[in-house]
Point group: C2
Chain length 238, copies 2
DNA sequence: CGTTGACTTGATTTCAGTCAATATCCGTGG
DNA sequence: CCACGGATATTGACTGAAATCAAGTCAACG
């Protein structure tokens, strides 16, 4: 139960912000404050790991700033991106089950700030503040739902359509309008995209080239600009 | 709040059984009884549906007897089996989110008995009995975990290995030892298996034929017997 | 200015899907 | 009891999407 929380004023801001997250929504401030007694503020530079696959699951995290990517590695060394985590989302939920290991690794793609809730305290807190448990449950239901969608995609759609879907999902959280098109505001290599859709960098490169020839996107080194958003959406549709 | 619960004695048995399910584990009997006030007993014949994809999500279900399969249909009409549900598991969890639609259909593969908890009451009950919310949360964490495993499989493994994994999963719940091998105790067509692993009945048929030639399995019309379980496990491994 | 990492492109291969023909099993009704 | 029809399964031939392998180009950076 380490206490490293910032000073009083900052704390007020944090409280306000947290009370709007899916996890803490509906919790009275007084309860939230008690929860925060257990929270360990955590900062990480880009390219650092919150945790590694196979290590004992000790904390559930709430991301406050930055972005992380949850990776899973197959025995053969193939890497798959399970999800991208943006601020106010939670990750490392397996830690809420006793005695498990993290099934994947959490890599910061930008500098990050997060709160860590120790494995032993979470369930206790949920028992004390039912709203917390309800919120967590609903978050997981939604997550399962999203994962099912991606499973269905993977099982039935071509790489091209999956890539379209993946880009649209990234746009939801990272879109930046520029004079010439919508930019995805994060470093994004062909390899990264391949791992997100379950493909190879070669195939992704070919598809992007084809799209570029059609004038629908503009892609450079680790960045992609969508020129024709409507077209991308219709591609993802049918 | 319809009350169709069976007579007193039967109710005692039901209570005892329910108190051991993952969802109700740790709830005092008195609390559980209150929860059951809201539960609607539901019976269904084999081949009937608990709910259909796209209809408003009105109930969360706890399966007591039988088996169901949760299907998802793509716009193009391709069918994918999201999961098999066995007794004491819950399904239709999206109903715990307000205002959604079922993302898939729930088909009874055997005659079933289940309890339905109305959409409006679940969250209320969880607020009253925190243990219920905690259990539900943990169930969903586990489910997400399992789904991630299957996602990884689908993204990186061949149909043959995926089939091996799928059969092993089915064996966990439906294994019956016979004089000559371990039988999977449920009707299981090539088409069913194809939908479970994201493939086609043709490919499944070829793989099973090959396995049969090697003397590892014995497969007939809608049934499969594993002759060499150790071999199947090692196939699934690497 | 050479090295490195990201990307592209072509050639080839492979896994698995599609299509088509046939076989097998099983219940049903004449 | 047997023949029929429909579901289920097998098998072969073909096709196609995407992985793999192999050369490259290009841009950034020390």
């Amino acid at each position: 139960m380490i206490k490293l929380l910032p000073a009083h004023i900052v704390r007020e801001v944090l409280l306000k912000k947290l009370s709007q997250t899916p996890l803490f929504k509906g919790l009275p401030d007084s309860d939230l404050e008690q929860v925060l007694e257990y929270a360990i503020p955590t900062r990480l530079d880009a390219e650092a790991y919150f945790f590694h696959q196979g290590t004992p699951a000790q904390h559930v995290y709430i991301l406050l700033e930055g972005q992380i990517k949850v990776l899973q590695l197959t025995p053969e060394g193939q890497q798959v991106v399970m999800r991208m985590v943006d601020p106010i989302e939670i990750f490392g939920c397996v830690a809420a089950l006793s005695g498990g290991e993290y099934p994947g690794s959490a890599l910061a793609t930008k500098a990050c700030q997060a709160l860590a809730l120790p494995h032993g305290d979470i369930i206790k807190l949920m028992g004390r503040f039912p709203q917390l448990a309800i919120n967590a449950f609903q978050i997981m239901v939604k997550r399962t739902h999203e994962l099912q969608d991606r499973y269905l995609e993977l099982a039935t759609e071509t790489v091209e359509k999956r890539l379209a879907h993946a880009l649209l999902r990234l746009l939801e959280k990272n879109a930046v309008e520029t004079p010439n098109g919508t930019l995805i505001d994060m470093p994004l290599s062909r390899q990264d995209l391949a791992e997100m859709v379950g493909s190879t960098l070669y195939t992704i490169s070919r598809i992007l080239s084809a799209w570029e020839n059609k004038g629908r996107v503009k892609s450079g080194r680790e960045q992609i600009t969508i020129l024709d958003l409507a077209w991308l959406e219709s591609l993802a549709q049918d």
